[in-house]
Symmetry: C2
Subunit: 125 residues, 2 copies
């Protein structure tokens, strides 16, 4: 199961957008209409599983509005077959509570026909 070439291409573009803190541009360019997004846990006002581009955009806007990102480290993409993984570290502050968070997670992305159809986020809190 060699990685498909477009999986690596899509992964590199996603990592570039994440490094530039432009997740909404990644959604516009790289995500499928049928996108499914799965979080390890649900949070207040956000279910663990959402589907569709509008739900993903809402989720990313909520992240941008809620969290101030002081610095980030984005490692990857690491491909296998039709999927790729990315390792994220964020140093953030929750704008509402002023609480500082060091967040770390792995994102696992599934690609079909050159578009991301599933994203899954692995972490503890």
């Amino acid at each position: 199961m060699q990685p498909q070439s477009n999986v690596l291409e899509v992964g590199k573009k996603l990592v570039d957008y994440c490094k530039r803190n432009q997740p909404l541009k990644a959604v516009d360019e790289l995500y499928s209409e049928q996108i499914e997004s799965q979080e390890a846990m649900e949070t207040p006002g956000m279910p663990a599983n959402v589907r569709g581009l509008e739900a993903i955009r809402k989720k990313n806007k909520q992240w941008e509005e809620t969290m101030e990102v002081h610095s980030s480290q984005v490692d990857g993409p690491f491909p296998l077959g039709d999927r790729f993984a990315v390792h994220f570290k964020y140093d953030t502050t929750d704008k509402k509570t002023n609480q500082r968070w060091q967040m770390e997670e792995v994102g696992l992305y599934t690609v079909k026909d050159g578009k991301i159809i599933k994203e899954e986020f692995f972490y503890t809190m």
Copy 2:
């Protein structure tokens, strides 16, 4: 889909064994008889997909015999449902060719009944 508590437990034990460079102890304690191991790519003498404890032990012995590990960084475990991810960085030398390798990959592990039934390794070369 909250992470199952034994998934996190198994993940922590696996990360401990990896940090101590004792992968064969991890196999003995944490792996199912039905283990399936999937690499992003096949390498000389090693197919991309192998099954069963004996094949996994052979693979780990081959790694130990082939690679000298100068230092490693193991981040995780990051759980989601019945799976957890681990981010690995290794500074190694291939003992046969004397070539130095900086390797980086994400391992994705699936747990069933307290045992690892699948490991998948995401990387490029």
